[in-house]
């Protein structure tokens, strides 16, 4: 089976052309989507659902920086070991504790807005670093460490999301 990048006719790199990805996704969807086969036979409807499922999964993976980085590292044969390797640098962990304390103390939507902006900024910096490590220096081991950090921040962003529901 072709890679997610090949599926959309893109070069396998962390820096993706978002517009090209969107365009290829829509082009393919407009040909394989189940709505095109609603009146077709079972075999075609099944094939259409399988294809669309695959295209949706590939698109979701390439759209998300964390998923895209993990996928690229796997393609390059790097054992990312995100489940087992939980070693993180001390200063990063300290910063995480700090952010989590801020989250625990935030009881106004405005406080959460400020925290979320901070998290987004750190995510942006990490994504830039990952792009450099994967695409330019091809230092996949170092990239894996940065991806782990990004996963921490994604989780925190999800928790901020839940916190909004509590303060509203």
């Amino acid at each position: 089976m072709s890679s997610h990048f090949e599926l959309f006719g893109l070069a396998p790199a962390f820096a993706v052309d978002a517009a090209a990805l969107d365009r290829a996704y829509r082009e393919i969807q407009s040909r394989v989507h189940p709505d095109r086969f609603a009146h077709a036979g079972d075999a075609e409807r099944r094939a259409s659902m399988q294809w669309t499922t695959r295209v949706n999964e590939a698109y979701r993976t390439l759209k998300s920086p964390v998923q895209r980085a993990k996928y690229l590292l796997e393609l390059n044969g790097v054992d990312v070991g995100f489940e087992t390797n939980t070693q993180m640098p001390g200063d990063f962990l300290l910063r995480q504790l700090e952010l989590r304390e801020t989250l625990a103390g935030a009881n106004q939507p405005e406080a959460l807005d400020a925290l979320l902006a901070e998290v987004r900024q750190e995510q942006r910096l990490l994504v830039q670093g990952i792009a450099q490590l994967i695409d330019d220096s091809k230092d996949y081991a170092a990239a894996a460490g940065e991806v782990r950090k990004l996963m921490f921040l994604d989780k925190l962003a999800a928790e901020i999301d839940v916190a909004y529901e509590k303060v509203e």
């Binding site: 599926l7 959309f8 006719g9 365009r23 290829a24 829509r26 082009e27 393919i28 969807q29 407009s30 040909r31 394989v32 989507h33 189940p34 709505d35 095109r36 086969f37 609603a38 009146h39 077709a40 036979g41 079972d42 075999a43 075609e44 099944r46 094939a47 259409s48 659902m49 399988q50 294809w51 669309t52 499922t53 949706n56 999964e57 698109y59 979701r60 999301d161 909004y164 529901e165 509203e168």
Partner: protein
């Protein structure tokens, strides 16, 4: 640069006749059927010219069933047998039904879905809904002059899997070929977007009789993409009636009421609510069965006050939908209002304040969903040429997961995933030598399983003896384009495979559907065999037509022998279909389906290749 033309897969190159397809809005309060005629979507009225069909079904002891206005007119006289707002019970257990104590029905708690005791026996919400759908189907067939090729049925976007499955079961029971279950706000967006050539981010605020949806969509030419959806499947206009009803009972200091009086006052409460849309005060008068006279006046201001918490309930889902979409209220270019309950001024005000813009009310909020569904049905039936149609990408509203140790819900497919979607997760055994695992499939956002909706339970047996943690059981969730889930599990560590497919426990087993079909035909004195034969024939003809269309469009993907073999098999099915043995027709259809699997796969591959080729050429043109 001149480009070579290639026809779209799935659309037959051979000319075919226009297929009769309809969109049905199966609403809590009213239902409608619409179709596309001469290029324009239009609601099909009944013989008296009325577009709406009140969603009320009345059962008589002699088996007669009345649907719509006649049932509505007598509902206060015969409350237990006149079922209104049945949509609120679809896919729901008795404990899930809000205000059951205030309802005039005789409920029977059944495993899975609540049932209703009537003069004509115990009825499930699926059967009641099927009665409404049957009337709409007959109306459409009479008006269009032929048998329907298929129907799009709308459901609230926030309906969970059990509610969707129940709706599809009802449609099948009514003899409809379901082309797709379509989310109501998405249907409205299609109607609005096409009419106004809208582009950009739009919100659809859909407050119906019993359900509330908010969907955020990105519209562009030829594309409707749902970014996020949220809602409350137990919030609607009915709840506002209920508040007025409770206020009247308190204000007039009424004693506990019987079923008839309850229904009477509820009808009066609804009338008062509607009156207050354009008036400052509504008078509510009624003579109860014991002779007491109720005479109270409700001001618009008081009405706002007693329904404030309901309006507030809609705000949370709106915020969540925007957050999930990663957008702010300022990014939304327009808010389309759908559903009769959005006529209430307090709703208009709250939505306007939230989005800081005037809501769009230029579509009939009662009809827009049915019209959008009709447009989609027309596309799905293949009546539109390539290039004139559009692509619709929708999402699942609630996360799907599995119960793990400690009663926690492990999410497998997150909410707002674009469908169709599949996701797999591996689980392992807890004890040495464990030979079976039991799975509990749940839907919802909460961490604890007890706070989520239970969809299905199943067991995987025959796991070979292994140490704890050594088995590798891969559980796969697949959600199809209707938003319906199927689950399978497979033990793979030893190469021994077992798999099981489950249907949600709230859906009906095939045997139930068969029993209901039999029951309904005993009353109608129709012949089951004739129906089975007719359905097999219709399906066979549809399949032959589809295969011939595919061969005409993409026959080049096959060798001459392969093509000849498929043509022979299609001809064979066409011949069998004119016979009278429905089993033989089914078998021949299945054979043709199997024979076309390879061809179907190649067509999809070719479609993807063409998509990319088209993109590159387009890129050169830029």
């Amino acid at each position: 640069m001149a480009l070579l033309q290639i026809s779209e897969p799935g659309l037959s190159a051979a000319p075919h006749q226009h297929r009769l397809a309809v969109g049905i809005d199966l609403g809590t309060t009213n239902s409608l059927v619409a179709t596309v005629r001469s290029g324009a979507a239009t609601v099909l009225p009944d013989e008296q010219g009325r577009a709406l069909l009140p969603s009320i079904v009345r059962y008589h002891a002699d088996g007669r069933v009345e649907v719509g206005y006649p049932a509505q007119a007598r509902q206060a006289e015969d409350p237990k047998n006149s079922i209104a707002s049945v949509k609120r019970f679809m896919g729901r257990g008795l404990k899930d039904v809000a205000h059951a104590e205030h309802m005039a029905y005789d409920f029977a708690d059944a495993p899975g879905m609540v049932q209703l005791r009537t003069a004509a026996g115990v009825k499930s919400p699926v059967e009641v809904s099927a009665e409404i759908l049957k009337v709409l189907r007959q109306r459409a067939e009479l008006s269009l002059g032929g048998e329907l090729a298929g129907a799009v049925i709308t459901v609230p976007a926030y309906f969970d899997d059990a509610q969707r499955q129940a709706t599809k079961d009802a449609a099948q029971l009514a003899g409809l070929n379901v082309l797709r279950l379509l989310n109501e706000p998405t249907a409205a967006a299609i109607a609005y977007g096409l009419e106004n050539a809208a582009e950009g981010v739009y919100a659809v605020f859909d407050l119906g009789g019993g359900t509330f949806d908010i969907s955020i969509l990105r519209l562009s030419s030829g594309m409707f993409e749902v970014v996020a959806t949220n809602g409350d499947s137990l919030l609607g206009g009915d709840d506002f009636d209920q508040r007025v009803f409770c206020w009247v009972v308190e204000e007039a200091k009424l004693p506990p009421l019987n079923a008839r009086d309850m229904r009477l006052l509820l009808v009066k409460s609804r009338e008062a609510k509607e009156y207050l849309t354009t008036h400052a005060e509504a008078r509510i008068t009624a003579r109860l069965s014991g002779g007491e006279v109720v005479d109270v006046s409700l001001s618009a201001e008081k009405f706002c006050q007693i329904t404030q918490t309901l309006v507030h309930k809609a705000l949370g889902p709106m915020r969540k939908a925007l957050r999930d979409a990663g957008l702010g209220a300022e990014d939304v270019r327009g808010v389309v209002m759908v559903g009769g309950a959005t006529r209430m001024p307090q709703i208009q005000r709250a939505v306007g304040e939230f989005f800081r813009r005037d809501p769009l009310n230029n579509l009939d909020p009662d009809k827009v969903v049915a019209l959008g569904a009709a447009m989609q049905a027309n596309v799905l039936a293949g009546n539109k040429a390539a290039g004139e149609d559009w692509l619709l990408l929708d999402v699942i509203p609630l996360s799907l997961g599995i119960e793990t140790m400690g009663g926690l819900a492990e999410k497998i497919i997150p909410r707002n995933s674009t469908i169709p979607v599949a996701r797999a997760q591996e689980f392992t055994t807890f004890k040495d030598g464990q030979s079976a695992m039991s799975f509990h499939v749940v839907q919802g956002e909460r961490e604890l399983v007890q706070d989520c909706r239970s969809l299905a339970r199943f067991e995987l047996k025959g796991i070979p003896p292994m140490a704890a943690g050594a088995a590798r059981v891969r559980v796969t969730f697949q959600v199809d384009a209707d938003g319906l889930l199927s689950v399978s599990a497979k033990e793979a560590a030893t190469g021994v495979e077992a798999s099981v497919a489950v249907k949600p426990s709230y859906g009906l087993a095939d045997a139930d559907v068969e029993r209901m079909l039999r029951d309904s035909f005993e009353h109608a004195k129709e012949d089951m065999r004739a129906r089975a034969l007719n359905e097999a024939r219709v399906d066979a003809i549809r399949l032959v037509e589809a295969v011939r269309g595919a061969l005409a469009a993409d026959g080049a993907l096959l060798s001459a022998e392969e093509r000849a073999a498929l043509e022979r098999q299609a001809a064979a099915l066409a011949a069998v279909a004119s016979g009278s043995d429905h089993r033989a027709i089914r078998q021949a259809s299945e054979a043709l389906n199997r024979a076309t699997e390879e061809f179907a796969g190649r067509r999809m591959d070719a479609g993807v290749k063409r998509a990319l080729a088209g993109k590159r050429i387009a890129g050169l043109d830029l």
